[in-house]
């Protein structure tokens, strides 16, 4: 007998996501991915100065802060023909790289770990055993001391004793599928706290260049932060030295703490390499942080991340990397609360529409999945297919293209865990891919991007702004541009049209939209839904404690405010809502 289950709110994500499930005999049979927030930024950027838009669309997300700003700026630069100097591009690469590392660390420890780590059990952990466990899994993190583990155990014990569990209130601590021994839980909680402290530090690289985080500052045509080693008030030698330290610390934390922890948890939950497969199609335009103004297939901007080519993989065939073609992207609103003038069709981003047509129940409501429309999230398709984007897609693409470092790390991890490449398409595979990518990102930052920036600086290159296209009278009366950026959660593209100095059309195709979107006209599910219900084998032991589906959904690192589109409907009014 099928049972129905609603998980709303899905916590430890950005924004508002609701999952509805049907299960039978401990397995999930049907799933609906439902985005329950809409903000309407598409209307709001209409008619604005294109040089301001980054500040608006950056507020799509305070987790993915920087990435939307950079995508917006690159799209505008592509439209008006601005040519940011190399140092400005390298600064953006450093901002993207440091955010990528920080974002993955936060996701693993603070948004995902509690699905696998039992905080209550950590109080029973022997501090010395926790230190020994850390050593055994190859963690050389400096925080693995008896003193620290004792301190953390006492903290956890005092919270449990107080009866006020704070953020741990209501966790599924009695669930039978928490598998780590107490000492491992204790070590993980200690690293959870260390990572909280560490993310504060690693984000400072972006603060030097953008002035704040979240929501740092950017500039069409380059960067506002002047650099000159010999000036007090610009980014000078003191700050360059500081950045060098933070870059090194980031790499150290990822290597000595995050990667061993991720491998250890993946090893204990090894069956999750057979759970949570979504469509075996992958799309990426490069490694994390790759940035392209215009079509990635023809783009010639040098960045630090062009080690692999833009590409698409279908049906898990790693031997065939198809060339990427932006023209093959379409978005569907079959299951979303929008309507298209042309009916139930797919639209290219450059022609996108966002006309609200809410057909759902008036809140409070109990169930959405009985209707065809059930979400604010559109459903992007590539060449008609649902695809996965994100760390898994990038790692698979890099692996398929033989990127030496990725191949080395992935092969090592697969050997350690005893899994095959085909098993990467799974909940465990997404955890592993994120750790692999975090390591390569930290390495690229430390070994390529930052040293190149310093080398240029040494050679006297301090130019960070192209003033020639700043004034609107230097722009064509009509221009369009697009950008592609590989950001933490996957492939992000922004599309802009400018008329007479103002934005006339704007659209973003966002990683989480690719992943969280619902069914299309042909009934093809989005990756979230497919990962839960695709093969009917996803476990759900206790509907009152839906730990297993949370593990799978969290493995995607959902970012729901991003998922709801920013686009402009060529001046369409939001149509009246039936309620």
């Amino acid at each position: 007998m099928a049972e129905r289950l609603v998980i709303d709110p899905i916590t430890r994500i950005e924004g508002h996501l609701r999952i509805e499930l049907e299960s039978d005999g401990g397995k999930i049979t049907k799933a609906w991915s439902e985005t329950t927030q809409f903000r309407g930024l598409e209307e709001i950027v209409q008619g604005r100065d294109p040089r301001d838009v980054w500040a608006f669309v950056q507020r799509i997300c305070g987790v993915c802060t920087s990435v939307h700003a950079i995508a917006s700026i690159v799209a505008v630069e592509n439209a008006i023909g601005a040519n940011p100097p190399e140092q400005a591009r390298l600064i953006r690469d450093m901002v993207l790289g440091s955010q990528e590392v920080q974002d993955h660390v936060i996701h693993f420890y603070h948004l995902h770990a509690l699905d696998f780590v039992n905080v209550a059990s950590a109080a029973q952990g022997d501090p010395q055993a926790a230190v020994d466990f850390a050593r055994a899994i190859g963690s050389t993190w400096k925080g693995n001391t008896l003193e620290r583990m004792t301190e953390v155990r006492d903290t956890v014990q005092s919270i449990l004793d107080s009866g006020q569990l704070s953020i741990f209130t209501g966790g599924y601590w009695g669930h039978p599928d928490y598998r780590l021994p107490p000492e491992a839980n204790l070590m993980a909680v200690a690293h959870y706290l260390d990572a909280l402290e560490f993310q504060r530090s690693m984000i400072r690289i972006g603060t030097v260049f953008g002035g704040k985080n979240p929501h740092p500052n950017f500039l069409v045509g380059g960067m506002a932060c002047s650099i000159d080693p010999n000036h007090t008030e610009s980014v000078n030698q003191v700050q360059v030295d500081q950045i060098g330290v933070w870059v090194a610390e980031s790499l150290e934390f990822v290597k000595s703490c995050y990667v061993p922890d991720a491998l250890a948890i993946a090893g204990v939950y090894k069956d999750y390499f057979d759970i949570g497969a979504a469509q075996d199609n992958y799309l990426a335009v490069g490694m994390a942080g790759a940035t392209f103004a215009g079509d990635p297939a023809t783009n010639e901007w040098p960045t630090a991340h062009t080690a692999i080519k833009p590409g698409v993989i279908f049906d898990g065939d790693l031997k065939t990397v198809h060339p990427f073609d932006p023209e093959k992207i379409e978005e569907w609103v079959h299951s979303a609360w929008y309507s298209y003038k042309g009916g139930d069709i797919g639209l290219k981003p450059s022609e996108g529409e966002t006309t609200v047509a809410y057909t759902g129940p008036k809140p409070p409501y109990e169930w959405l999945g009985d209707s065809d429309e059930y979400t604010w999230c559109k459903a992007p398709r590539y060449d008609g297919r649902a695809v996965q984007v994100g760390p898994l897609a990038r790692v698979v693409l890099a692996y398929a293209q033989g990127h030496p470092r990725t191949v080395e790390i992935v092969n090592g991890a697969m050997e350690q865990l005893g899994i095959t490449a085909a098993q990467l398409n799974s909940t465990g595979g997404r955890i592993l891919a994120r750790a692999v990518e975090c390591l390569t990102s930290a390495e690229i930052l430390a070994e390529t991007t930052f040293p190149t920036f310093v080398k240029n600086l040494k050679g006297g290159d301090i130019d960070v702004f192209d003033p020639t296209r700043w004034e609107p009278d230097s722009w064509p009366s009509e221009a369009s541009g697009m950008s592609f950026v590989e950001v933490a959660r996957g492939n992000l593209s922004h599309w802009v049209t400018i008329k007479d100095g103002k934005v006339s059309h704007y659209q973003a195709v966002v990683p989480t939209t690719w992943l969280a979107g619902g069914r299309d006209k042909d009934g093809q599910q989005g990756p979230y839904e497919e990962s839960l219900a695709g093969n009917g084998q996803h476990p759900l032991t206790d509907p009152a404690q839906p730990l297993e589906p949370l593990r799978t959904i969290h493995s995607f690192d959902p970012c729901m405010s991003c998922a709801v589109h920013v686009l402009d409907p060529n001046g369409h009014e939001l149509q009246a809502v039936e309620s």
């Binding site: 916590t11 329950t36 930024l41 507020r59 610009s234 008036k362």
Partner: protein
């Protein structure tokens, strides 16, 4: 490790005070003062000092509901980066944060239960995000309920309400023209209780956590300015403390990004800096462990602690007197730089009128003692006492306060103070001396 167990270690406030060396006698004396305040509070039952002391001494770690409504999570991310009172300290030691979507372990029904249980008792309410009011609240639902309903339920027994971030304060980016979802700030929905507005997009992490720790250490809400912003963080304009101010005074301006002036750290006014009209501690506290701040990194301030900044302060790269929404755009280029003063004065007067409307509803700051700790007499007297009709907002929604009370504005209320500030701000700008462009705007 930076985080350390301190502060609230013992089960109750009484025990914590004892550990901190506060004698029962001192505590009673303090409660006697409170008894006097409660006695004059409208509708509050007079209480004896001993009763108050006993009630307070039994208070446990304050429970907290930390909502995330229509927003981007930037405020919670900023909280994660706080370097003063760290988020570890907040969630493990100072407070029991029983509900917060970004960091809590529970999901779904278990999360909703944690929320309902906490809502059923006295608690501190922190809100990130705006409330979409159009079309029955369909634009943001949580657990199948509208954001507005979630907020109302959480506010019912809240003893202190903090609206954290521009979205919770006034709606921010989604409330900007044309505001498709009807987004509003918390104090447009919750009108019968004071709301502390921690402004900024996002606010500095330390300012968020300090607002919480202010309540805990003072047993009272912080003093606020006319916009409900805590004075400890929003008392001064960025311009007042800007390290580039000397260049402004000397007429040294960045003319184009990355020019010689930019590299030398000259004033960003001409490339659009909104620092002269923005009340924020950015130059003083700075960001991310005092690493830098927007103007420090060469970008003009976009005024993110100010109401409606996405509409009033755009285009962002236009110099201040020409910015729309400040009432001077028609003549700005003719009159020129002297208008900086007028602009600021205009903001001051605007704020002052708002203050008049709000100050009564917020009551004197001293009249909100111990609200955070759930004292039965504090913080929930209701009574808003708006000075009806004094809507100085004149703005976005044209709606009045709405409670309908006819209260007396307090003697020497916000208008005077803010007026003075505005006047001094206006006086601080000398058109002839600081007008290198001879009255031409950008």
């Amino acid at each position: 490790m930076a985080y350390k167990l301190d502060g609230w270690q013992d089960p109750t406030l009484g025990e914590n005070l004892a550990r901190a060396g506060i004698s029962r006698r001192d505590f009673l004396a303090y409660c006697g003062v409170l008894a006097g305040i409660f006695a004059v509070g409208a509708g509050a039952k007079p209480a004896r000092a001993e009763e108050i002391a006993d009630a307070l001494a039994a208070v446990r770690k304050p429970n907290v509901v930390w909502l995330q409504l229509q927003e981007c999570t930037g405020c919670m991310e900023s909280t994660l980066r706080s370097g003063g009172t760290t988020v570890e300290e907040v969630v493990l030691n100072l407070l029991s944060v029983n509900y917060n979507e970004l960091v809590m372990a529970a999901a779904g029904d278990a999360a909703n239960k944690a929320l309902a249980d906490t809502n059923a008792e006295d608690h501190i309410l922190v809100v990130n995000g705006s409330i979409p009011t159009k079309d029955g609240g369909i634009y943001c639902t949580i657990g199948g309920e509208s954001a507005e309903e979630v907020l109302r339920k959480s506010a019912e027994k809240a003893t202190a309400i903090l609206a954290v971030g521009a979205c919770a304060v006034w709606g921010s980016v989604q409330a900007s023209r044309p505001n498709p979802t009807g987004a509003v700030g918390v104090d447009e929905i919750i009108r019968d209780k004071p709301v502390i507005n921690v402004a900024g997009c996002p606010p500095i992490g330390e300012v968020i956590t300090a607002t919480v720790s202010y309540i805990l250490t003072h047993d009272a809400l912080p003093k606020t300015d006319a916009e409900g912003r805590p004075l400890f963080a929003y008392e001064q304009r960025i311009h007042d403390s800007c390290p580039r101010r000397a260049h402004y005074d000397a007429g040294q301006y960045v003319r184009s990004f990355d020019d010689e002036g930019a590299r030398a750290g000259w004033c960003l006014y001409e490339v659009g800096c909104k620092g002269p009209s923005t009340f924020s501690p950015c130059p003083i506290f700075q960001w991310n462990l005092h690493t830098s701040w927007p103007i420090g990194a060469g970008h003009p301030c976009i005024g993110c602690t100010e109401k409606d900044f996405f509409d009033r302060y755009t285009p962002f790269y236009q110099a201040l007197p020409d910015v729309r929404g400040l009432g001077v755009e028609a003549t700005a280029t003719k009159i020129g730089w002297g208008l900086v003063g007028a602009t600021v004065a205009g903001v001051g007067v605007h704020a002052g009128l708002t203050a008049l409307r709000r100050s009564a509803s917020r009551k004197a700051d001293a009249a909100e003692p111990l609200a955070a700790f759930g004292d039965p007499g504090a913080g929930r007297q209701g009574g808003c006492g708006c000075a009806g009709g004094q809507d100085g907002n004149g703005g976005r929604d044209g709606k009045d306060g709405g409670c309908g009370c006819k209260g007396e504005p307090p003697p020497g209320g916000g208008l005077g103070a803010v007026g003075d500030r505005a006047a001094s701000a206006a006086g601080g700008v000398d058109a002839t001396r600081r007008n290198p462009t001879g009255g031409e705007g950008l």
